[in-house]
Structures are given as C-alpha cells and as structure tokens.
Symmetry: D2
Subunit: 343 residues, 4 copies
C-alpha cells in the first residue's frame, strides 16, 4: 500500500482528496493536516466520511514522511511548505500540488497573476502539469506534479485539440461559470447562503488567473470572464473562438474523437438533440469526467467550445488522483469509478 499525506485536508479540495484516497484500493492515508482543525475529527468537518475514517486532523507544521504528498493549500503556501521542509523537497516522495504555485512556468507571468505567492525560482519549471490527456508520458515518472486550476482544466481540454491542429484564430473569449465551492471553506460575507444563493455574479470580468494557464498551454490569447452561478459544485466554460478557415462539424468531431476517444475521463458530447446534448456539470458531480463539446455556426467560422466538470474532481482532487494512478502505472479509473447522477 502506498502511504499518503494530505495538507489542507479540511478544505474542500483537501476533503475530496481524502474521500478519494480512503476509497482507493492501493493507498493508505497516513495523515490529514489542517492548521485550523488540528485535533478535530476529520468526519466532523467532512461528514460524508462518517464510517469511512476515524482520522483526526494533525497540525500542518510538521509534515510526516509518506510516499505521496498532496498539497491542497492556498496559493503561496505550497511553495512555502516545500521551502521550509527541504526533506520533503529532496525526498523521493511524489508531490502533487493542487495550489497554483507551480502552474505557470514563466516567472513574470506568475508574478503578474499571483503577486503574493512567491516561490523558489529553481522549482518553477520542475513540476509536470497534472494533465494526463496531454502529459501522460511525463507523468509516468514525475515526482512533482502541478494540477491545473478548475476552470483552466476545462478550458484547456476544450481548446487544446483545436489549437494543436492550428485551426483557431488566436483570440479566444472564455466565459466560465462556477459554483460556490470554488470559493473555499472560509466564512466570508459574500459567500453566505443568503448572499450567494441565486447569484449570477461576474466576479472576474477580466484577468482571472486561470486564463494564464490556458494561454500558456495553448499559445492562444485567452480573455476570460468568470461568473458565479447557483451551484455548489460545477464548472462550465464556453470558449468563443473562430476557425481560420470554414470548418465542418464532422471535422471538429473527428479531431475531438481522435484526441479523447481513448481517454477514460473525457467524453465528447455534441449531439443534435436531447436534453443534455452539450456538456453541463449537473450530471458530473462527484465524477471525474470532463465532458467536451462544440457547436458551429452555419458559416462554419464561429465555434462555441464547451467543457464541463466538477471543480473538486476533474478540476482538482479527482484529477490529482488520476495523475497518481498514471504515475504508479495503475488503472487510471482506480478510485474514480463514480459515474455521476441523473437526475
């Protein structure tokens, strides 16, 4: 059994990492760390884990050794922890970072988008992106993995196959919608149920940090808008793009099928009819799927690319587990079998 430690385990992403690890046949959770909840029962904070664990949160000052370390921390804290724990940074442990600290390789870009999250320069390029569909080979031997942001992951899965095929004009508008769990578990007035319920809140009309990841990985100029809508989990991105030349739907479909036809967690969803003919997160909650689809205007120029996922799963914790599965040579679906619910 592989041993695992989770830092930031009382947060929403950390709780999801815990849930998945506790259900994973090949992993044992050695410790769940939390600054705020040290000494409390894990299932007091994550009541869905009742019956699945008797773990108590441990303080996060001292990180015990383990085979794999999940960092589900705030931006800036992952780098800080690694700096303060050279034994971890230098050990053979696999580090799977769910924060943003090592997502952007270019330092200037990182500082522009995350001015407060400093990181050791020499580490900036040592993390392999936690993006199995694109970096599977590198992940098989990676000991440092940086899992993409939730909205970034959705956008990258929608954009990359077409960007790689050089089909798109470089300017793309990404319109992202997200549920409230993306705002984290800290009590803030704007996240109160009475304030957040029923919201359509454009919290980032320009310059959301996830656009930098999309741009970095696709070479496109991505302009992103992020809106909080009524949901706890779930992200949907609409990418408004243009093709360089007129294109047919079947060509798009072929490209996506070639990219994702064998992927365990990306489904191409672009049907002519039906209630759920395009991707939406409602049916993905708790699952590790990212559904990717598209629509094309009659002239074949304007593309609406759509991707949906559960921000805590394929947009975070689930994707991290998938990366671990790849890294260990296990079946990628191990511990990620939940299919999602309807209705």
């Amino acid at each position: 059994m592989l041993t695992a430690v989770v830092v930031g385990a009382a947060g929403y992403v950390g709780g999801e990492v815990l849930r998945l690890l506790l259900g994973h046949p090949n992993v044992t959770v050695r410790a769940a760390l939390s600054r705020t909840f040290a000494g409390h029962r894990v299932d007091g904070v994550h009541p869905n884990l009742r019956g699945a664990t008797n773990l108590i949160f441990a303080p996060s000052d001292d990180i015990p050794a383990s085979d794999v370390l999940f960092l589900a921390t705030e931006h800036g804290r992952s780098a800080e922890l690694l700096s303060r724990s050279p034994h971890i940074a230098q050990s053979a442990a696999i580090v799977i970072d769910l924060s943003a600290d090592f997502r952007l390789t270019d330092e200037a870009l990182h500082q522009g988008y995350y001015p407060k999250a400093q990181r050791p320069l020499e580490w900036a390029t040592t993390f392999v992106p936690g993006w199995p569909e694109r970096h599977r080979e590198a992940l098989r031997t990676a000991n440092r993995i940086s899992v993409p942001g939730c909205m970034a992951m959705a956008g990258m899965l929608a954009l990359h196959p077409l960007a790689a095929a050089d089909i798109l004009e470089p300017d793309v508008i990404v319109d992202a919608k997200t549920g409230s769990s993306g705002s984290g578990a800290t009590a803030l007035e704007q996240n109160l149920h009475a304030e957040r319920s029923g919201a359509m809140r454009v919290f980032a009309p320009h310059g959301h940090r996830h656009e930098a990841e999309m741009a970095q990985s696709t070479g496109l100029r991505v302009h992103m808008t992020a809106t909080g809508v009524e949901a706890v989990r779930g992200v949907q991105v609409l990418c408004h793009a243009r093709s360089r030349e007129p294109i047919e739907a079947r060509t798009l479909y072929r490209i996506y099928r070639e990219a994702y036809g064998n992927e365990p967690f990306v489904r191409v969803v672009a049907q002519r009819q039906g209630r759920y003919r395009l991707p939406e997160p409602k049916i993905l909650l708790g699952s590790n799927y990212c559904d990717v689809g598209f629509a094309l205007d009659p002239e074949g120029h304007r593309l609406t690319l759509i991707a949906a996922l559960d921000n805590l799963m394929k947009g975070g914790a689930g994707n991290g587990i998938q990366c671990l599965n790849v890294r260990m040579g296990w079946s990628e679906r191990l511990g990620l079998e939940f299919q999602g619910l309807h209705p």
Copy 2:
C-alpha cells in the same frame, strides 16, 4: 411626514424595514444606524435600494430623535439601547422592537429562553404585541410594540382561532421550516452557501425560542422543531394538533374565515385541488401575507394546520410596518402593496 430611525439597519430585517419605509408615502427615514457599517452607503449593503436612497449608515451610539424608532437588533441589544437612552424610553416616540427582548412577558420564561438577554423588569409588560390580527385595538394607542418572531407569528396565526374557540387538545407539535435569511447577515461557516445549500438541517429539534411565544399567546403546550431548508426567505409551519371532538372541515373553514375574512394580510388557503392548495412561502416572498390553511383526517380528529410567510415581511419588518399603520390610523396596506410573484 412621520420621521423614522432604524437601528440595526445593515441586517436583513433592518434592511427590509428601510426598503419599506423608503417606499412608504407617509414616512421619512431620518437615519439608518449600524455599528459595523457606519460611514458606508446604505445601498452598498442593500443593493436593491440603489436609486431609492443616498443614505449613509450612522453609528448606533447616539440615536437621533424621531417619531418612530425601529429596533432591528440582536436579542439583548434593544433592552440595552433603551436602558442607555432614557430620553428615548421616556420620549413620546413610538418604539417598534423587532428583537426578542420584550416578546415574553413572564420573566422566568424570558430568562429560560433568553438567558443572555437581560431587560429592565419594569418594561417587560409595557410592550403591546405587534400582532394586528389580535391586538389591533391596543396597537392603535401603543407607543411600545414588540413584533413576534417569524416562526412564532406563523404558528400563532394558525393556532389562535382554534385555540380561542377551545377546539384543540392542549398538546401541539409545530414543525417549522425556514430559509437562510433567518440566520442573519453575519459570516458563519455553517451559513456558507456551500454548506447551507440543499440543507434539511434540524437546527432546533427541541426548545426553539419561538415555541414560548406560541405557548404564551395560545395557552397550548407547544413543542416545536425547526429545520433549515433550501431557501433564502420563507417560513412554513405545520402544526400537528388534535381536536377535542370530531370536527368537520367546513367548521374549521368557517372559524378561519370569521377570524381572517376581513384581514388585509391573512388569507385562508385550504383547497381541494391545485398546485398551491395549501400555504407555502414561494408565492409570498416580498409580500406581507401570511397564508393559513388546514387539512383534516377522515375521522375529523387530527388537524394539520399550515401557515406560511416571508420571515422578513409578515415575520418581521413588514409586520412592523403594518403595526405602524395601525398605530397611526393609516390604511394597513400602505407601503405593503406588493402582491408576491408567480412563478
């Protein structure tokens, strides 16, 4: 024009008092007080009031003189403010208290349910209940008015006509459901959208404070359970009662019609068919109605009495305005004309 001051105006009940006063043809708002938001624009906290007011919150240390004073404060603070402001307590101003400080007249009962909210003993019985359907005459000359709790108001409107007619056995179970706005505007983890959304949370399986008001006013032994459900506004109570003797539906209907047939804000809703045949708050949000209905088992013994209201309206601010209208001899619907929405 009557002048009004609102204390606790940045809260949800206080904001609703402000909204109603700003739309009231006979009242001018002199000041909106808030400890936390003093110096901030009112419409920054209550964005629905954009265009309706340019008021700035004033600190609540010093309460300016006015014709009517609304206290939308936490329990304990109304009594404290009145104690510290003898000029108010002794002035001719009408005081409409929306806190719980003067709802229970019996001191032992008050101390049992509100151990931390002390109050001057000599005032305990000087407040007329803000319950126009029952205390209309007393309210016409009252200078101290204590508005009932939201779930209490619903339960009392359902129970009182039958209790007064001595129809019910004394033990009644009241099952109350409420939205999240009843928990107030303070940032607490349990009220985060991600935690509160989709809840069916039995936060008071026994001994909720509103049961004391129902018991006090009806003479019944009320055992209340309170559950938070998915809603921002809205309260519904189900009173499980028994009749002393078998009773017919038409008798119940007649009693309610006699009690409420001429009331501007209580509607009897007990239909055989239809989507909305019994009271529910969905269609009452923003209105001052309390809908009251009932169902009877075939033996004519078991009664399910049902009442619904918007906790910030007939369950608080709106009821306070209605009391003011009664006190001033104005039409009771003044400033309370909103009919509610469908769908």
Copy 3:
C-alpha cells in the same frame, strides 16, 4: 379608468401583466383570456393573486373591446389574432404585443428567425418598439407597441449607448444566462424540476432569435449564446466587445450616465468593490429595473458589458406597463414601484 384585456393571461408573462394591472391605480382589467384555462379562476393558476382578484379566465376566441390590449401569446398567435379580429386591428385600442411577431421589421430577417410565425406584411413596420429609453417620443402616440425579447432588451440596453457613440467594433459576442420561467408554463420533460434544477444548459449555442433584435437595433454583428442556469426568473447578458480605440473607464461611465442618468428603470452599476458591484438579477426579481454595467481590461480595448433584469418584468410584462405609462402620459413608475429584495 383605462380598461385592459390580457390575452394569454395564464402564461407567465400574461400572469405578470395581470398582477401589474391589478395593482395599477389607473387601469381596470376587463378580461383575462386563456385557451387552456377558460372557466377557471385566475388565482387558481396565479396563486399570488389571491385576494387581489376574483376574475375567471375567458376563452380567447372573442376578444372584448377595451382601451388597451396586451398580447402575451406564443409567437405567431399575436399576428393571427389581429388578422382574425379586424375590429381590433382597426380600433383605436392600444395594442401592446409581448410576442415576437412584430419585433423584427425586416421581413426576410423575421422569416429567417421565425419561420413558422407569419404576419401580415403591411403591419410589419407599424409597431413602435417597446423600448422607452430609446423610443420614448414615438411611444407617446403609439397605438401598436412591440415589446422586445427579454435577453434582447438586456443586451440592447447594454450595447446601444456605446454603439450610438460609435465606440465599438462591429463584432460582439453576447453570452446570455436565463432562468426557467423563460421557457413558459407548458409541461415539457426538459423543464421538469428534476431535469432543470442545477442546469447550466447551453440551449442555443448559435442563432438565438434575440440576437436578431440586438443586431437590428444597434447595427452591430451580434453572436449570441444562451444558457439556462439555476433560477426561475432572471436574465444576465455579458457582451464581449472591443472598442475601436483605447478607452477609459470614466468615459464609459460618462456615456452610460448620460444615457441613463434620468431613466427611472435603468441603473448604472459598475463599482470597484462590493458584493454586488456588477449587475445581477438576484436583487431585481419582481422589479422593473435593468441594471447595466461594464468592465474594461487594462489596455482599454476589451469591454465586458453586463446587463441584468427580471425576464418577466423589464424583460416583458413590466416593460409593457412602462410603455403604457409613457403612452398615457402617466408617471413611468406607476404600478412599477417594487424595489426588489435583498437578500
């Protein structure tokens, strides 16, 4: 008192027209017509109207005479009714059409977007757009008024001031979100609560009909995407536009203030901070406001224009009443005083 008749009064827009007319001090409702619910009580279908009316739905075959006729009908039926009722078409009655039949003046455009909704050619250009902010003068004498579509109205209010100032490049992407009431009151599987709840459903990735109205009225090339999100009421549009030349936020603000500073129902909402710093429908439900705001990227080139409204109010029925108020020379806020709720 002006007399009014409402056709399609059992639908959601029709019910809202009824509610507003019943609360309007200068109007009497003569009849509420419905094919499906003829013979049923109005407040059985619209339970919020209990206590406000005893009207019974009348069949819609024969439209009684009145001073003003509201057509809250399906697309195609308004034109059909007018064709079949020459006495109405020729009478002096004011006709306020809430369907799409006369929104597009160009016949080819109309046939392209509404292939099944035929209309008499000679009428196509006789309707004044029900858009008071732009066509107020024409509305003062108009006897045929065509109220814009809900998402179109929002987009037009956001785009028009900048389009009129020739600031924008012609290609604009409009990303619209809408609640479920926009789908109407007919029982369809995809609109079941279990299916529609929690949706982020891209039901029109291209070619939604409301884009034609926006294009017609602004001269821009509008490419619209429409997504159903979790809400009953409420529309929000995000217009992704570019300025021809770099522009400053204060210039944008000035243009919008000049356009809407004196408007009773359009508020400019573009703040640096705060929970509700940009428009969202949550605080507008039941009100006739359309909030319009914007954000600008640091280079001053990319504009995100945002508008929000209640689709049944400023996006339909409320706007129709405002048009009537303009037409009659009444205060525009008459019957539309509801300020919206927080929270």
Copy 4:
C-alpha cells in the same frame, strides 16, 4: 456473472438501478426495458451513463429471461407484469420489485391505500421486505423481494429499534420532506422547474401511502405528512414520538448502536455540536447510507427521531442492490461504495 433485466429503466429509480448494475462487478445487464423510450439509447435518457453503456431500451412487452429481474415500475404494473408473464412468476429468477404492489401484506390495507393497483391475492404475502437490517436472514434465500417506499424506509429505520424495545407510545407523527425526483420523470405542470423550485409543498397532509408501511412494520399508529422541498434527491423524516417512561439520551444511543453498529449502510448521527450533527440528505446523495439520529427534550419524554437518505438509493435502487448482495451472499457494499459528497 449474474444476468439482470430492468423494467421501467427510463424512470428515475430504474435509471439508478441501471447505473448501479453497470458498476457492479458481479452483474451483467441483459436488457433495459421501457415502454416510452424503446429503441432509444439508454445514455440519451440517462446522460450520466455515457461511456458506461451502449444499451438500447427494449420494449417492455416481452421480458427476457435473466437471473434477476428488477421492476422499477409504476404501482399496479409490477403485479400486472407478473400476472401476464407466468414464466417469470414461476421461474427461478429473483424478482426485486421497487413498486408498491407487494409492500402491504394485508389486502384490505393495500386496497385502501392503493385502490387502483390490483394484485394476485396469492402473491400478496410471498414477498420478503427489502429491508436488510431487519429481514437479512429471510433475504438470503428470497426469490421475491419488495423494496420499501423511500419515506417509509427512512421512517422504519428510525422507528423500528425503539418500537421493538417497546419504548414508544403508539401514536407517532412523521413529518417527511422530499425532493422532486420522487415525483418521477413524467412531465406534469406541477413538477415544472418554475413551479416546483423553492417549494415547501404539503402534497400529502394526511394519509400518505408510506405511512401504512411504517405502521405495518412497527405496530405503531403512524400519522404522516409529506412536504416537497427544494431538492432533486433526498428524503428526511422527523418522527415526533413519546417514550412510555422518561428515557435518557445514552439509552437511546445504545439502542441505536446495538441495532445499527454493524450495519454497512446505517449510521447513527446524533451529536451535541457541529454543522451536520443530525441526519440530512445533502451529504448522502448518490450514497446508500441512511443516517439515523434523535433528540430528546429535557424531560426525557419527547423524542424527535430523524432519518435521512437518498430516495433513489437507500430509498429505492440502492437498497434493491443491497438486497441482491444479501441474497447472493456477496459483500453488501459491492457496487455501493460511493461515500457521498461534501460540500
């Protein structure tokens, strides 16, 4: 591999049976039958199953042979199908009926509550209740299993240990809340999102059919009220009971622990503190848990017993799979490992 056939597979319970069987390591789905959707892809109706199956719905006239037959049909149809298919009734196949046709053994009781659902009298008592916690031994050899109703299952799990210990007075009031998926997948106006969203709809103030099951199995006199609240999945019951003699919380706790301490899918949740200290379905969606808890008034007389589950899981399909696991001697958690989500 066991072969399975599902009748009524396009409904919500049937879809859930399919999902669970497709993920079950020991079962192969031979056919999914549906009158309405015969010829359509299963994942067109249940889009969460994309990638998990290529099945096409078959018509339900002719039921193919299989090792186990799930009947997820409307009340009355299970009995009808068995009557028309003597080869099934007489075969060795295991029949797991999720309808109400064989839940009530007493014929008069059945006819009273289900007047339209006739059944062969000789079968009425041949079904073992699908209630593993109580009938595990009988289930190990049962070939006819009748799964309880969703609200009944919750109530029975809360009531039975105390009823069996003869602790309760016989009259119990059960206040049940349920999400919209319990109303099924048929398009009815009252189930439209716009009508059902935000509901607190007392659809059965007296005489709900599930009360008969609770009464039958516990010997108590159960008076049940059912209210639809805002949720898609989820049932919560509050049982208002009285103890014959004063009782202590620790005694109650002990009784429940003895009853359920070794159960794989019943958790005792009755904590002094915490956000989720009593059972609620929010954290159970998709899982097969039923959480059972209680609260006691200070006098030790009044008990509020609380149970929560996912109506399509432990309240239906999941429970049916658990019964199959018991019947086959497999681990009861097989195919039911999903732990539920937080938040």
